[in-house]
Symmetry: C2
Subunit: 228 residues, 2 copies
Amino acid sequence: MSQVLHKEIDSLKKRLLHLGAVVEEALRRAVRAFVTRDAALARRVIEGDELIDELEVEFEEEGLKIIALHQPVAVDLRFIVAVLRINADLERIGDLAVNLAERAAFLAGVPGFRIPVDLPPMADEAQEMLKASLDALVNMDAELARRIIERDDVVDKVNAAMYHVIYDRIKEDPEQVEPLLHVLSSARYLERVADHATNIAEDVIYMAEGTIVRHLPEDFRATRRQGA
Amino acid sequence: MSQVLHKEIDSLKKRLLHLGAVVEEALRRAVRAFVTRDAALARRVIEGDELIDELEVEFEEEGLKIIALHQPVAVDLRFIVAVLRINADLERIGDLAVNLAERAAFLAGVPGFRIPVDLPPMADEAQEMLKASLDALVNMDAELARRIIERDDVVDKVNAAMYHVIYDRIKEDPEQVEPLLHVLSSARYLERVADHATNIAEDVIYMAEGTIVRHLPEDFRATRRQGA
């Protein structure tokens, strides 16, 4: 294993964390635009996606260059393949921040409308999962990664509960169906952010242990964890 | 370039087309379950996803093994990286077929409910895009791939139009909000199938020409096409 390769891998990790920080910030702003009904802030999130796309493409090219130049094997190859997947997940979280910002911009134009669910706690949870997944990556911490995977269930349940609140609101006031469905979509985007954070956590486990965790049933994951 | 590597790459392509065929069939069945309100067929689609997940994981392992053993460069490495991405897209289309089947199973339990939009033409379009993207892959046909990318716009518009029909139906009959939103979600899944077919087409262009088309604005894509 060459030292040059390890330096390249380190620099790849730094790039990925930089992209992660940009995506985290985009998501934070999109949530704030939603909560404060700030259409100008929402637009800035939408415009900022170009940078995220550029960073993703650059990262992928860099990763492939390293594979081609250094022909890494075993653990190093696994690392690069996993960071390429994480790169794609981060880019998609960036897209979800844009989607959320678009809904925020719409809702900013419906000033009298009361949002019937409490999105910020769910947003906090999704953002914490994202942050934790990047921490797990930095420290190659498979235990932390497993705890993130478990949290995804909670977000799914909160999302499902919101559906029912919104169904009821639509029945009470069907004229508001459009803004209510924008709220529903916003919750779904946050739920998908949590899914991508879960994907990242799964890739951290793959990097740390060589085990493919995605597609495993919940109870099997739990058994593995207790056995670990 | 070794002959052994090219044999491996050929076999990788065959595996991918096999996965593509399995995913196409899952989607076809999910659409039929939706249209005919066949809960038993929907359940078979849901159960069949395990096979798709297995094929995806096997494919990825095979692709990585080839990179590690043969250390391909340039065009060959680009091919393998692109098929790994397509593999992930196909797996996600499989997930969307499951999601559609879940909605179909729900709607099968609401026998009197009239579905207010005509989903089959949209389903046909998404399925044709998927089929064409796999054809473009087999023949490494960048021109066909570009035509697929253009069709994505049509599906997006049909999906947006369905939203408005369903908003109106909800206003007329808010008690039906739940099954109506299941229909809306079903349309959205088909729209996302078309997105993934578009991703596959973009990767075919990348394989054939080395150009990263994803994230490019629509008009730039069109210019490139006329210039080609």
